[in-house]
């Protein structure tokens, strides 16, 4: 990986998710809602086996 590649990757970890959720972007909104719903229960984030359809 070149240095140029490293510089091109933005840091997105500090984004304000509420602001993103208000955007007119149906797919992003759905993903963020799902992340919010899982925030209090991390169990599903430990269901990583991927040779079955997502549960």
């Amino acid at each position: 990986m070149t240095d140029r590649d490293a510089r091109d990757l933005p840091d997105l970890t500090a984004l304000d998710l509420e602001s993103l959720r208000r955007l007119d972007h149906p797919v992003l909104r759905d993903v963020l809602e799902r992340l919010q719903a899982r925030q209090d229960d991390g169990t599903e984030t430990l269901w990583g086996f991927n040779n079955s359809a997502p549960q």
């Binding site: 990757l9 933005p10 993103l20 149906p26 269901w47 079955s52 359809a53």
Partner: protein, 421 residues
């Protein structure tokens, strides 16, 4: 040739460097994370003979010596062990994946029996989420109804909605399976919607991504996952450009094309797990999955004879790669957590190759699927054979998300502006 097994190198590394997975342990050894996904083989044979099958056409031969079905004794003992594990670790939710071979070869009844045995065995307050992963060719309205009645969801394996997308998914006589699987998908979508888990798709970069994506949406899945075909540095996947120095990323390009279609859709049509994982990890949120990230892997397999194994994907590396030497009659699931191969997959970045640990996208990539890192001379402590393809996808998704964030104004991201860590 000496073959380095799974976890043999990383097990030592994981002990030496606490990775922060699970709770901290006083002695500096990362605490084990309990199993939460129990993949139970209900049938060890398959009515299809898919030409890329890593299980029956790959290097592993273990299935030949195993009984075709899980006996009542194996089911009951497995259920007892799951209940014991759930009680010991106070698991509120766990996943039961009914797998094979082809689980429906003996109908839905045995699957229901297995699920109910597990539900009886777990403590009160522990919920069992059951799903069956099937090729769909044997799914009937009656079996779908029975599975649905017992809250068992159904996942279908299909590589696209059109016949030529599934040219590799044939039976033992070479006959196509496509029509039967599409029938199963429409049955679930139209009559058993709550039991429809989704579709599992193996990526073929020679196929038109837009056509594959569009044809899959016509099967109305609530979710789908896109899997890279199993391969590694010693046995590269089909079409992978790993050693020619071209920098080509056929799989990455294909995934980016599908991502764009999914991302830019005027309305949300289906979940695509790989893309959701990537987005979550880019946002600094936890995400489960074997394809990306460094979350501890918490799945274990119980074969039809009660043998405990690591997940099947490892069998694409070499014969016996998934073996642990343990079984449900003589061992607990906690003992399986001590196996070096399983521990390595809970060690996070500590188990990765040095060049992966130094890579700025490691937090998202996580080294990719464990099985794809294998090289006969050095084991599993290598980058993924799909490293360049994963990099292509991750950067593409990051750019798309950053563009949306820019539109949000104050939510605009900071740029790292630095080199590798």
């Amino acid at each position: 040739m000496t073959r380095a097994g799974p976890g043999a190198e990383a097990g030592a590394g994981a002990g030496a460097e606490a990775s922060g997975t699970g709770a901290d342990a006083a002695d500096g050894v990362p605490a084990r994370v309990p199993f939460r996904q129990f993949v139970v083989k209900t049938h060890a044979r398959c009515n299809l003979a898919c030409r890329y099958c890593y299980l029956y056409s790959g290097p592993d031969r273990g299935w030949r010596a195993r009984p075709p079905t899980a006996s009542a004794a194996v089911r009951e003992q497995t259920a007892r062990r799951i209940g014991e594990h759930a009680a010991r670790h106070r698991l509120r939710r766990l996943s039961l994946v009914l797998h094979g071979g082809e689980p429906l070869l003996h109908g839905a009844g045995p699957l229901v029996a297995y699920t109910e045995a597990v539900r009886r065995a777990v403590p009160a307050g522990s919920t069992v989420h059951a799903t069956v992963q099937t090729n769909g060719t044997l799914l009937t309205d009656e079996s779908a109804a029975l599975l649905s009645e017992h809250r068992i969801t159904v996942g279908l394996s299909i590589d696209g909605g059109l016949p030529h997308h599934n040219r590799l998914r044939v039976d033992h006589a070479g006959r196509p399976s496509h029509a039967a699987v599409v029938r199963a998908a429409r049955l679930l979508a139209d009559r058993h919607r709550t039991a429809y888990a989704g579709l599992l798709v193996v990526v073929d970069p020679t196929l038109d991504p837009a056509e594959v994506h569009r044809s899959l949406l016509e099967l109305d899945p609530p979710a789908l996952d896109l899997l890279l075909p199993h391969g590694n540095w010693t046995t590269p996947p089909p079409g992978a450009r790993v050693a020619d120095g071209s920098g080509a990323t056929p799989y990455g390009d294909w995934l980016c094309a599908v991502f764009d279609l999914w991302w830019r859709a005027p309305r949300h049509r289906t979940r695509i797990r790989l893309f959701e994982q990537c987005l979550a990890l880019l946002l600094g949120r936890p995400a489960a999955g074997e394809s990306l990230g460094t979350a501890p892997f918490t799945a274990v397999v119980v074969e039809t004879d009660g043998t405990l194994e690591q997940v099947d994907s490892l069998k694409s590396a070499y014969d016996g790669a998934a073996a642990t030497g343990l079984d449900v009659f003589r061992h607990t699931f906690d003992e399986a957590l001590d196996h070096p191969g399983i521990a390595a997959r809970q060690a996070g970045a500590a188990a990765l190759a040095a060049e992966c640990r130094a890579c700025p996208v490691v937090r998202v990539c996580g080294g990719g699927n464990y099985a794809h890192r294998y090289r006969a001379e050095t084991g599993f402590v290598n980058p993924s054979v799909y490293c360049a393809d994963l990099m292509r996808l991750i950067r593409h998704v990051a750019a798309a998300l950053a563009a949306e964030a820019a539109a949000a104004g104050p939510a605009a991201p900071r740029t790292t502006g630095g080199g590798p860590r």
